[in-house]
């Protein structure tokens, strides 16, 4: 092979190698930085979620009763109509459909679900970003970051334990 051709090939391969290195490290750096930012921001998101859940439980309904009383009464009377209406009404106002298209409230007593309400959410439109390490999600347009918070509540029946979980999914902008 001629000396000039050999040099040209070396430069081309080196450039190709450099491009691969830069691409690989840009992905690695951005992913690792994302994980770090997530650690700090996730807790702040969880704090907001906790406040939303506590405010929901403390929302006055009627005759001095709150949503929390309504949850307990609905369970003991097996009538969830009012709870359904009020929950949908509250969370459809709290969450902007465009920014946070997913919300879900679920109640469990002794690990058995007794109610669940959720937004009208079309999962086909979004990508649920379960793990930021998944490189493929970097290239998806509308990523949803689901967060959930659970509060344990006491019941008049001391032998039972209830848990209310709020999950929200907002767009990662």
């Amino acid at each position: 092979m001629k000396k000039g051709n050999e040099s040209g090939l070396t430069i081309v391969f080196s450039l190709f190698f450099l491009v691969i290195i830069l691409t690989l490290f840009s992905v690695l750096f951005s992913q690792s930085a994302l994980n770090k930012t997530d650690l700090a921001t996730k807790e702040i998101n969880l704090a907001e979620l906790n406040i939303n859940l506590i405010n929901y439980l403390r929302t006055p309904v009627e005759n001095g009763l709150t949503v929390r009383d309504l949850i307990v009464n609905s369970y003991y009377n097996n009538d969830y109509k009012k709870l359904d209406n009020i929950t949908n009404n509250i969370f459809n106002k709290v969450y902007d459909k465009e920014k946070c298209p997913l919300w879900d409230v679920e109640g469990e007593i002794d690990k058995k679900e007794f109610f669940e309400y959720e937004s009208e959410f079309d999962i086909r439109k979004y990508s649920l970003q379960q793990s930021p390490r998944n490189i493929l999600t970097l290239f998806t347009k509308d990523k949803i970051l689901p967060n959930s918070y659970t509060i344990e509540i006491i019941l008049p029946d001391k032998s039972k334990k209830a848990e209310i979980t709020l999950t929200e999914g907002c767009l990662n902008e």
Partner: protein, 238 residues
């Protein structure tokens, strides 16, 4: 090889070494350094606040449910011990020391929810319950969280204890003066031999949890007095 052609492979190799070194320093070796713990302290503060709010929310309901159960037991036993068979006898273990008896019942119920009491007061018909402060403590590398939240809960009683206490005082005065207990108070009563049974209407609904159901019902307060054994001696007039 041409000298110019050597530059690119060497440069690429140097970039690789530089970036690998930087990644190692920043994200592998430095995982525990102070820059990586940015947000950890704030996270603990938020966590402390959240846990405090949850504790307070459940404490409010523990007080509420305990007051419902205490009222139910209080009405069932006419404000005295179960062994007194709904009969009041002053200056004995069946003395209608209504406020204290109610607070004892309430304390018993609340303790089953594992909340530690500091103080319980009854003002008019409002229970004022002071629980032990909520405490959250955590020690991190360069940060210490010590969060205390005082818990004071006011709970309106779904039962007019003040009215019953006033009736008790009227009966005591009548007994001391030796007046007829039958006509002493305006409440409904039934006389069977030496036993007078009084019924005090309760105009508030009480919440009762029975057989797996939560019911709101109106329940009157009844108590009996044995006129042969009131526990109070008639005052002598000199």
């Amino acid at each position: 090889m041409n000298k110019k052609a050597v530059f690119m492979p060497v440069f690429s190799f140097l970039v690789l070494i530089l970036l690998t070194g930087a990644y190692y320093e920043l994200f592998i070796k430095g995982i525990n350094n102070q820059y990586n713990s940015i947000g950890e302290n704030q996270k603990e503060i938020i966590q402390a606040y959240n846990k405090g709010q949850e504790y307070e929310l459940n404490a409010e309901y523990a007080v509420r449910y305990s007051s419902y159960s205490a009222i139910q037991d209080f009405i069932k036993n006419s404000g005295v011990l179960e062994k007194c068979n709904n009969t009041w006898q002053f200056n004995s273990e069946c003395d209608p020391d209504l406020q204290n008896n109610f607070i004892n019942l309430f304390n018993l119920e609340l303790s089953s929810y594992n909340y530690k009491l500091k103080e319980v007061k009854l003002q008019e018909n409002t229970l004022i319950v002071t629980l032990e402060d909520f405490n959250y403590q955590k020690e991190l590398k360069n940060f210490k969280v010590n969060y205390a939240l005082p818990i004071i809960i006011k709970q309106d009683m779904t039962f007019d204890l003040k009215k019953i206490t006033d009736i008790k005082e009227e009966i005591r005065k009548c007994a001391e003066k030796g007046e007829d207990l039958n006509t002493c108070v305006n409440e409904k009563n039934q006389v069977q031999g030496s036993i007078i049974q009084f019924t005090v209407e309760n105009n508030k609904n009480i919440l009762v949890f029975e057989q797996g159901k939560l019911e709101s019902k109106r329940q009157d307060f009844t108590f009996k007095i044995n006129t042969n054994n009131i526990g109070i001696e008639k005052q002598k007039v000199f």
